[in-house]
Amino acid sequence: TALSSRHGKRHGKKSKSRCSRKALHVNFKELGWDDWIIAPLDYEAYHCEGMCDFPLRSHLEPTNHAIIQTLMNSMDPNSTPPSCCVPTKLSPISILYIDSGNNVVYKQYEDMVVEQCGCR
């Protein structure tokens, strides 16, 4: 409700979409990290956003705990918050950077891109 009202939506109306992957373009230059990252200067990281409400869809691969929490939330929203929409599968990206000794380093960083979102 708080989120809906902040965006000027009417109270009571289900305005938030279901949990899914959304675009998140990361620009290292804007972050000020281009002074040590040589490449890439930007990439598509994605993020997860949306509601984990009852009934949970199977493609969201909910844990048993998330199913129980969602059920509890559907019965009494005041007693239990909904489960969280979070990354459930991530992939790496390659980064070429300058380390503290001025050496050029290639490193594959894990968990940099959201591949899949789910309810947990």
Binding site: K22, A23, L24, H25, V26, N27, K29, E30, L31, G32, W33, D34, D35, W36, I38, A39, P40, L41, D42, S91, P92, I93, S94, L96, Y97, I98, D99, S100, G101, N102, N103, V104, V105, Y106, K107, Q108, Y109, E110, D111
Partner: protein
């Protein structure tokens, strides 16, 4: 697939998404502030411009990031030696001008930034051989490029045979130095690695003049200097903030005894 962006973009891209990258308390903006105002790291653009990546490192990046986009794991490449971290150390050695002919060269690398949290899996020395201007008159045939220890003049078992007749164009000679490297990197290893290079004609112990063979290091650009390439595999998942911490630490170290800047840092930490 999309080619990797090496060339800096023309300007900041804004309004790409519905959310600013600086939104939220967990934004790394504060890290940027620490970074930008850390003495020793301010003016990092100049610093970055002074570090020129070798073509080999750019090529590794391009190849592996293109493979990633195709869903391939870079560790499948034989050249990667199953490594997920590849570090290049640039040669700090210099040729002594007084030595003519030049029979030996010392290659010196500062490997102090190698982390003991990573499992080292390979090392190679890449040296650019640029044929001299009078290459047509230089001797041809098979040559042995050999590495010996700077301290003991003992052979390190790394050698490569090169047919100079076929190599009138500049070429990178690659020597596998893994055996030598791992035996020298004990827990109390020195931060410097020094090897001496000499070249002999095959089936002879006569050491050749390195300048006539194209190993002269005088007037070489940064990206033409020899590099020691070390392949490593991280034992655990590392996050980007480890790199940031390392840089901040090194910036603190470079500050030396500048006490007033120390006060600034403390004040900044209090604000944070």
């Amino acid at each position: 697939t999309r080619s990797a962006a090496i060339v800096p973009s023309s300007g900041p891209k804004r309004n790409r998404g519905s959310r600013s990258p600086h939104d939220g308390q967990r934004s790394p903006k504060f890290l940027k502030d620490v970074f930008a105002s850390s003495p020793g790291l301010s003016g990092r653009d100049d610093f970055k411009n002074s570090v020129v990546p070798h073509d080999y490192m750019l090529s590794i990046y391009r190849t592996y990031s293109a493979a990633e986009k195709l869903g391939l794991n870079a560790s499948f490449f034989r050249s990667s030696k199953s490594a997920n971290t590849i570090t290049s150390f640039v040669d700090r050695g210099k040729d002594e001008l007084s030595h003519s002919p030049l029979r030996k060269q010392k290659y010196v690398f500062d490997v102090s930034t190698l982390s003991d949290k990573e499992e080292l899996v390979g090392a190679e020395l890449r040296i650019l051989r640029k044929p001299p201007e009078d290459a047509m008159s230089s001797p041809s045939g098979l040559y042995n490029i050999e590495l010996v220890s700077c301290a003991s003049d003992r052979s390190l078992g790394s050698s490569v045979s090169v047919g100079l007749r076929d190599a009138r164009n500049p070429a990178w000679e690659v020597l596998d130095v893994w055996d030598m490297f791992k035996s020298r990197l004990s827990p109390t290893h020195s931060s410097q690695l020094c090897v001496e290079l000499k070249v002999t004609v095959s089936q002879s112990d006569a050491e050749k003049d390195l300048r006539s063979l194209g190993f002269d290091r005088g007037g070489r650009a940064q990206r033409e200097k020899a590099i020691l390439v070390v392949y490593a595999r991280s034992r655990k998942r590392e996050n980007l903030f480890n790199e940031m911490r390392g840089k901040i630490k090194s910036a603190r170290g470079s500050r030396g005894s500048e006490q007033d800047t120390g006060m600034q840092f403390k004040a900044r930490r209090r604000r944070r």
